[in-house]
């Protein structure tokens, strides 16, 4: 039984990271109806920003302090938000009214570009790096269940970010505009909403969450390399589709489900199929409920 809880906690921590990445996919899909394939690479850039910023922030705030960790997190999120906005401005905006496939291929191109630039010897280099210890890890014992402080931190940061996102989307003017654009973009534009600003904001928000996900992921699995974003990116994307793409609570739920199931499969004797299982679940759900867990079925109009 204690093993069950242990795995559940591991799964929740992994799942909340997937949820953070999935939110970016789902929000961008909500406003632009396209899959931002470069999102997993922004997650990677976030982790690398953490890698480079940690020693610097450590000098100012003292290494391993909570203030230092917070500073690293906030700065990486800001840098990645700017990167996301820049990518949208340069690569996606010129194609906004072009066929969706052209945008998808451009996104794939951007993803490859970030990966290959990252592998260049003058940037991050191709060899894996060890992510520094942001805060000292401690273990708490709850009965037979061991709880590491890193996992608690991952969960706490995720919850704070999710609540913050929910507040932004539901309570602010920009959030209302985002919801309006995702509901009906032309009508929102007619009501005086500046689409460009809303879309830039959405990219910034999603990329910031991906950066947070990258740092949390690197705290959990400290070996980082320029290709680290591919698999978590794909899984987060399946999480977004699983929850119903375009649906924000759905993305969070999908991320948690994928993370928990993957952890349990990884702990069983089917562990070799760990990478396949999230896709298998996704396929099953899509076949029986194609709009995802929380997505609303769309009636097709002719």
């Amino acid at each position: 039984m204690s093993e069950f809880f242990q795995q559940l906690i591991n799964g929740l921590a992994l799942g909340s990271i997937y949820a953070l990445i999935a939110l970016g996919y789902t929000m961008v899909y909500g406003v632009l109806r396209f899959i931002n394939f470069a999102h997993g690479d922004i997650f990677m850039v976030g982790a690398f920003m953490g890698f480079y910023l940690t020693p610097m922030a450590g000098q100012v705030f003292g290494p391993h302090s909570l203030a230092c960790a917070l500073m690293v997190l906030v700065l990486s999120m800001l840098i990645c938000a700017m990167l996301g906005i820049l990518i949208e401005r340069l690569a996606y905006r010129p194609l906004r009214n072009k066929p969706k496939l052209a945008v998808l291929i451009t996104a794939i191109g951007v993803s490859l570009l970030i990966e290959y630039v990252g592998q260049h010897p003058m940037v991050f280099t191709a060899s894996p790096k060890t992510f520094p210890e942001l805060v000292h890890s401690r273990n708490f014992h709850l009965g037979a269940v061991v709880l590491s402080s890193n996992e608690v931190l991952v969960l706490a940061v995720t919850i704070v970010l999710l609540v913050g996102l929910e507040l932004i989307v539901q309570k602010t003017k920009m959030g209302t505009a985002m919801r309006a654009v995702s509901f009906n973009a032309p009508a929102a534009a007619l009501m005086g909403i500046n689409l460009d600003v809303v879309i830039s904001f959405t990219f910034g928000l999603g990329s910031a969450l991906a950066a947070a996900g990258g740092i949390l992921y690197a705290m959990k699995y400290p070996s980082i390399d320029p290709l680290m974003g591919i698999m978590p990116g794909l899984k987060a994307f399946t999480a977004a589709v699983l929850g119903g793409i375009g649906n924000i609570p759905g993305a969070a739920l999908g991320g948690l489900v994928i993370g928990i199931v993957e952890t349990f499969v990884g702990g069983s004797h089917w562990s070799n199929y760990r990478d396949a299982i999230s896709f298998a679940i996704l396929i099953l759900i899509l076949l029986f409920k194609p709009s995802g867990l929380l997505g609303k079925g769309e009636i097709e109009k002719v």
Partner: protein, 321 residues
């Protein structure tokens, strides 16, 4: 008739060239064979993505099925079958075995394509893309776990049977099949599904059947291309058939122009040559490749070789739905 003559001519020319292939620099030969294999992959994916409008991101998975099946046939059945030919091993035995192996690879890939296609083709657009991507990844993970074909470390020691004749004969056959299918009376259904699925269904076109057919035919040729690839490189591993390989093929189709076979063939040639041309600037070549994709999409989103107004009905992109 014209198409049949083209097929015959292609077969004869590729056969003649393969007779002289001993005189070609092995480096160039390798590239030319790679081009042929990529043409098969791109043309077959174009049938699914371009003509029928079903966006698939799992072509490398079907290629993997073909590659592993074909290599297993020559590796495990070859030693049993080849001695039966006695003195004619080189003349008859190897070609017969290789043809059988390629067909086996193609048929098994087609069968997997059918298994994947029947359930997933109920989905559309992005959902279909992610499901095919998922199936491709699942196929890869399954091969990683089959120890008989080497598991994660891959299958070594495959014979080099792939030559100019086999590669270009299959490329010609793939082009021929796709063009004949699309331009036949029956084949109007594929274009109808691409242009407007609902209208096609309302007109009595069995859309599911057409979509599955396209998937099966495309997977068959992907499987054959996988078999040729395995017997060219002599080594295959599951990681060689990952999501990035599928993306490579998709990029060829999109650059060539969806549903434009000559354009797709040109794109396959260009994209195979590009990394070789960029070899002197090795550190930057993949960066340039990525930049090129972005720039081409920004300047010519309809594909490099699609002339506007060539096929009016395809000007409306299916994915607007």
């Amino acid at each position: 008739m014209k198409e049949k003559l083209f097929l015959l001519a292609a077969l004869i020319v590729s056969f003649l060239f393969s007779l002289g292939s001993g005189h070609i620099n092995p480096y160039y030969l390798d590239i030319v064979l790679g081009i042929g294999i990529n043409i098969i992959l791109a043309v077959s994916l174009n049938f699914i993505n371009g003509y029928t409008g079903q966006f698939s991101l799992g072509h490398a998975g079907f290629m993997a099925v073909g590659a592993y099946t074909c290599a297993s046939v020559t590796l495990f059945l070859g030693p049993m079958v080849l001695p039966l030919f006695g003195g004619a091993i080189e003349m008859l035995g190897v070609p017969a075995l290789f043809l059988m192996a390629l067909c086996a690879g193609g048929v098994l890939a087609a069968a997997v394509g059918w298994l994947v296609g029947v359930p997933s083709l109920r989905l559309k657009g992005d959902y279909l893309a992610i499901v095919t991507l998922g199936f491709g990844e699942i196929i890869r993970v399954i091969f990683q776990n089959i120890q008989a074909v080497g598991g994660p470390s891959g299958l070594k020691g495959i014979q080099t049977y792939t030559n100019l004749f086999w590669t270009y004969a299959w490329a010609a056959l793939a082009i021929f099949t796709v063009l004949m299918l699309v331009h036949s009376t029956y084949g109007r259904g594929f274009l109808a599904v691409h242009d407007d699925e609902i209208a096609a269904a309302a007109m009595g076109v069995n859309t599911t059947r057409y979509k599955v057919t396209a998937f099966v035919v495309g997977s068959f040729f992907a499987g054959v291309a996988g078999g040729l690839y395995a017997h060219l490189k002599t080594f295959i591993s599951p990681s060689g058939f990952d999501f990035l390989k599928s993306i490579d093929i998709v990029v060829m189709v999109i650059l060539g122009g969806m549903g434009n076979t000559p354009g797709v063939i040109l794109a396959a040639i260009l994209l195979t040559l590009l990394p070789e041309v960029l070899r002197p600037v090795a550190q930057y070549r993949m960066i340039l490749y990525a930049l090129l994709i972005i720039i081409i999409m920004l300047t010519r989103p309809q594909g490099l070789f699609t002339l506007r107004g060539l096929r009016p009905q395809s000007a409306r992109d299916s994915t607007h739905v």
